[in-house]
């Protein structure tokens, strides 16, 4: 067990960090998720792979309620995402309650989505100050520490447009960590990067995994999944086709669909 950094919140022990039961999602007539069942344990690095359009990003976005699920149940750290159950009735959560749930779930996007009108430091300070009501001094101190941790201690005053893609994505990771989340979602974090910048982002994610952060990673980086991942799920057409330890699934896939996908990407 490696040392747990101050930035990684201690997960509640025992229950899974994320549990999905028969999760469905439709956009109009398009049925994207067709019954997803899975569990992500605390401190686990959980990789989601699959062809584009297979629903893996949609599922990730359901976990912090950026998308509403159409059927099934989804829990994060024991509480229903976006709803409150009382008896057998389900109540939609108010906007503020949803926002409170999201505080504990960090998300990193494919397109970084940094705030372009703020410097790197201000990007990282924004949520702790605005959402948690933290003092600026405390937030600034932590933001500086987090930026140093992702190797950008000398770039705090830069605006996103003045940073490379890899640097921007590392700022985005620091921004998510500033809320001290108990779960981190990565939505294809390296897909928009030049090949030579992928490594620096994966290095940060690897160190985060070593610190015991629970991570769900949608990725096409099979090397990362094999080295860092604890479990791997192959999704296709809205269902989980195959799940298991990354090394087993990647080296010895059981399903034809998995085999044909892996033969193209490996």
């Amino acid at each position: 067990m490696s040392g747990i950094s101050k930035d990684v919140a201690q997960p509640a022990s025992g229950r899974p960090m994320v549990r999905a039961e028969g999760v469905h999602k439709s956009f109009g007539t398009a049925h994207i998720l067709k019954g997803i069942d899975l569990e992500v344990n605390p401190r686990e690095v959980f990789c989601l792979i699959g062809p584009s359009g297979s629903g893996k990003s949609t599922f990730l976005r359901c976990i912090n309620h950026l998308e509403k699920i159409s059927a099934g149940r989804l829990w994060v750290d024991g509480s229903l995402v976006g709803y409150r159950q009382s008896g057998d009735k389900l109540y939609e959560l108010k906007e503020k309650e949803v926002a409170t749930q999201r505080r504990d779930i960090g998300m990193v996007f494919q397109r970084f989505n940094l705030f372009p009108h703020m410097t790197a430091l201000e990007n990282v300070m924004e949520a702790p100050v605005q959402v948690k009501g933290e003092s600026k001094a405390v937030a600034r101190e932590r933001a500086g520490r987090l930026l140093s941790r992702v190797g950008l201690g000398d770039r705090t005053g830069h605006y996103p447009a003045q940073l490379s893609g890899g640097q921007q994505q590392r700022v985005a990771i620091a921004r998510a960590l500033a809320m001290e989340p108990k779960l981190m979602l990565f939505d294809e974090p390296t897909s928009a990067l030049d090949p030579e910048l992928v490594g620096e982002v994966l290095d940060v994610m690897r160190s985060l995994a070593e610190d015991g952060m629970t991570m769900i990673v949608v990725t096409h980086e099979m090397g990362f999944a094999r080295e860092v991942g604890d479990s791997l799920v192959f999704m296709d057409d809205g269902v989980v086709v195959e799940a298991g330890h990354p090394r087993e699934v990647l080296t010895n896939p059981q399903h034809d669909r998995t085999k044909s996908f892996l033969s193209k990407v490996l």
Binding site: A99, I105, A161
Partner: protein
């Protein structure tokens, strides 16, 4: 050859510059001549007109005109502020998922944009026909006492402007990438926080240029407030011309003031746009002032070694 070593101490000989005969732009000379001819003809026509140009400079700084210019300035600023605040509220209402608020905003824009501002001013001024008494519970008065020329002008111009501003603000908000909202929500920010901290600051880049345009428009539209007896420039110019009989001359005086005011605000707009361009480009081009200072510095550093010698 020891060319490379030799080059360092000897003063470098500049390469022979190309001396080519540039392309002749005869069209430009013709066009320039035509423009000058037209300007001269217009100038002659105006100078032969029955207009007493001599009195115009005297009236530019006339007390009545100055007070009119001041009234024009402050009513347009206040009406613009009212329009801006109300415009942001209307834009947010219009984009709300609540069907009541979005419909209300739609009707507001439909009505205030669809009727002449002159009529709106007159209706506010004569609102006592509809509500003879203003009763706010804690405050009660005859409407005719409350609805001064100032208030009628402010409401007429400001509420009309709000309709236009709401469309400008809406376009600005919609220009901001969807990913910005998602990132804010994922960090636990509420809709209101997201709007104030993330969306509006970025929307400003799209909102500011047309807003400057709207303000310059407002400076001139405020002249319509003369119909509600508000003492702005045109009203004051007419007051003078009714006694001095210098009608056209006074309109010239007023126009010179409008030109001066709009010129000053065009400069202000330039600097405001730069402020909201922060982060959108790697480095901003220098302002005219910065360019001037840089040139002066270069001039200074060019001279200084000579002084030192």
């Amino acid at each position: 050859m020891t060319d490379i070593v030799d080059k360092v101490p000897t003063p470098s000989v500049p390469p022979e510059q190309i001396k080519a005969i540039p392309v002749r732009h005869y069209g430009r000379w013709v066009a320039g001549a035509v423009v000058i001819a037209i300007l001269v003809l217009i100038g002659i026509a105006f100078s032969n007109a029955d207009i007493n140009y001599g009195i115009i400079p005297d009236y530019i700084t006339d007390g009545t005109i100055l007070s009119g210019a001041w009234h024009t300035l402050y009513i347009s600023v206040l009406a613009m502020v009212l329009g801006l605040v109300l415009g942001v509220i209307l834009a947010v209402m219009r984009m709300s998922s609540n069907p009541v608020t979005s419909t209300v905003a739609w009707f507001y824009v439909w009505f205030f944009r669809g009727t002449p501002v002159l009529v709106q001013l007159l209706i506010w001024y004569n609102i006592a026909l509809v509500f003879p008494v203003l009763n706010l519970g804690f405050y009660k008065d005859e409407m005719n006492q409350v609805m001064t020329p100032f208030l009628a002008a402010l409401l007429g111009l400001g509420l009309n402007e709000a309709a236009y501003m709401s469309e400008i603000v809406r376009a600005g908000i919609q220009s901001v990438d969807e990913g910005q909202t998602e990132a804010s929500h994922a960090l636990g920010m509420t809709q209101g926080k997201t709007l104030r901290r993330v969306i509006l600051p970025q929307a400003m880049r799209v909102i500011v240029p047309p807003t400057g345009n709207e303000y310059i428009n407002m400076l001139k539209t405020s002249s319509l407030a003369y119909v509600v007896q508000f003492n702005e420039l045109i009203k004051r110019a007419q007051d003078i011309s009714s006694t001095s009989l210098a009608v056209v001359e006074m309109y010239f005086v007023a126009s010179i003031w409008y030109l001066m005011l709009t010129s000053v605000f065009s400069i202000g707009q330039y600097y405001l746009e730069r402020r909201y361009a922060r982060g959108s480009s790697r480095s901003l081009p220098p302002t005219p002032l910065q360019r001037l200072r840089k040139n002066l510095r270069q001039f200074g550093s060019f001279r200084r070694p000579e002084v030192a010698r």
